[in-house]
């Protein structure tokens, strides 16, 4: 095996080792962090899908509400 190839294999081992080490440490760190945050710094949980009404939509809805009220008023 050439010297180049042995460098390559060393690189493979060091590289995958570090990548796994890094991401495994990140897993541990995230678990600790999440535990700490959820216990000591809880915030309102991220709003899930229902409230996807954007500002724009809100304005549309407001405009519609106004229009419909107007309509009711004019035609009652």
């Amino acid at each position: 095996m050439t010297e180049l190839m042995s460098s390559g294999i060393e690189l493979l081992m060091a590289g995958m080792g570090i990548v796994f080490l890094f991401l495994a440490m990140l897993v541990v760190a995230i678990n600790i962090m999440s535990a700490v945050v959820l216990r000591f710094f809880p915030d309102e949980p991220k709003a899930s899908s229902p409230s996807v009404v954007s500002t724009n939509d809100k304005r549309i809805v407001a405009a519609i509400t106004a229009a419909v009220h107007q309509y009711r008023h004019d035609h009652k």
Binding site: T2, L4, M5, S7, G8, I9, L11, L12, A14, G15, M16, I18, V19, F20, L21, F22, L23, A24, M25, L26, V27, A29, I30, N31, M33, S34, V37, L38, F41, P42, D43, E44, P45, K46, S48
Partner: protein, 375 residues
């Protein structure tokens, strides 16, 4: 008359070399793939166009004083890939990954594609006429990271001559993910495994999303400073978005800024598609190794997921392992699609997004290793 002759001598027709004509065809092919086949058009359209512009005889658009030559400084100095990484960071939602952190390991496993193709490149040196240095091999391997800006960043540092071929291979194979991955994923999993449903992910708090990019950066600083330009800009973008206090900056980073830089980056990459650099045996090797890298990365991710499923208390569908290569979000969509084929109620998309973004981190880390160890 003299004037007309000099005019004729200044035409492209008179000055064309076969190499230039061929590279122009490559450029048109990339445009065709981008426009008609929908292959990563945001990058391949400017790259293809850049390839055409830089191979125009006489005009010298990619030479000293030409626009593409100037734009290339943005790659040479590492600016463009880092700004794109910032924008990608701003677009990335780490929520699914934070809800199920062990899927990060899938993003680690899939980086095996990088190192395997690095070895492959060195092995190809046995083919007469091919002579990849360790730097070349490392730059080629990074294609397996399935992450455009990372590949361009590493290639620009380690093997600028191969940059054009590497970028084209990286983006092309990213576009081909829906074709490359499924056969491998089917071969390595049983129908029963593909049917596995996963538990719904918990909601992740805003604070967790704010702390995570800082933690990621800190770990990178402590362990692998060579990865911090990439990881740092990615974390900056992500923090701008997650913090919610600088929305106008975050919006600009993920829209106008990344768009401008994408145009410039694409053109500059295209300018490296010159006949001398591209029409080499090496290019074929790179294209072959890129495909191998994607395939091996996919396989490694799936196998890792199978192993984890054995030891995990909650079920893990091995299909999501394939998303560990990154190629966000196509790889996650592929996992979702295959999951639905086997079980119409099995929505894996969110579960696959975890390994998917973990793959981005994984390849940035691998890039750091290569930049730090390959001298």
């Amino acid at each position: 008359m003299e004037n007309l002759l000099s005019l004729w001598h200044s035409t492209g027709l008179y000055n064309f070399t076969a190499g230039q004509a061929f590279m122009m065809l490559v450029g048109f092919l990339l445009l065709f793939l981008a426009i008609k086949k929908g292959f990563e058009p945001l990058l391949l359209l400017p790259i293809g166009f850049g390839a055409i512009l830089s191979n125009i005889p006489v005009a010298g658009i990619a030479e000293e004083g030409g626009l593409l030559h100037f734009l290339y400084y943005g790659i040479k100095l590492g600016i463009f890939p880092l700004l794109i990484f910032m924008g990608v960071g701003a677009m990335t939602d780490f929520g699914p990954m934070l809800a199920n952190p062990k899927t990060l390991l899938l993003g680690a496993a899939a980086q095996f594609g990088i190192f395997a193709s690095l070895i492959g490149a060195l092995a190809l040196n046995m083919v007469p006429g091919l002579e990849f240095t360790l730097k070349d091999a490392a730059a080629i391997g990074i294609i397996g990271g399935a992450d455009g800006p990372t590949a361009i960043y590493v290639a620009s540092k380690l093997a600028p001559d191969l940059l054009g071929a590497i970028a084209v291979a990286a983006y092309s194979y990213m576009a081909l993910v829906p074709l490359i991955q499924p056969p491998i994923m089917r071969a390595l999993t049983t129908e029963a495994e593909r049917k596995i449903e996963m538990q719904q992910l918990r909601a992740v708090s805003k604070t967790e999303k704010i702390v995570f990019p800082l933690m990621l950066l800190l770990l990178s600083i402590l362990l692998l400073p060579s990865a911090t330009p990439l990881v740092g800009m990615f974390a900056l973008g992500n923090l701008m978005n997650a913090s919610g206090v600088v929305d106008r900056l975050s919006q600009t980073a993920q829209n106008e800024l990344i768009n401008v830089v994408t145009i410039f980056l694409g053109l500059a990459v295209g300018s490296k598609l010159s006949a001398e650099a591209f029409l080499q045996l090496e290019t074929l090797g790179i294209l072959a190794l890129g495909a191998v890298a994607f395939a091996i990365g996919t396989a490694a991710g799936v196998i890792m997921a199978k192993i984890m499923n054995k030891f995990s208390d909650t079920p893990i569908n091995p299909l999501i392992g394939a998303a560990g290569v990154s190629a966000v979000p196509m790889a996650a969509r592929v996992a979702n699609k295959l999951g639905l084929e086997s079980n119409p109620h099995n929505f894996l998309l969110m579960h696959a997004m975890g390994p998917n973004v973990a793959g981005v981190i994984g390849s940035a880390v691998a890039a750091g290793v290569l930049l730090s160890l390959v001298k």
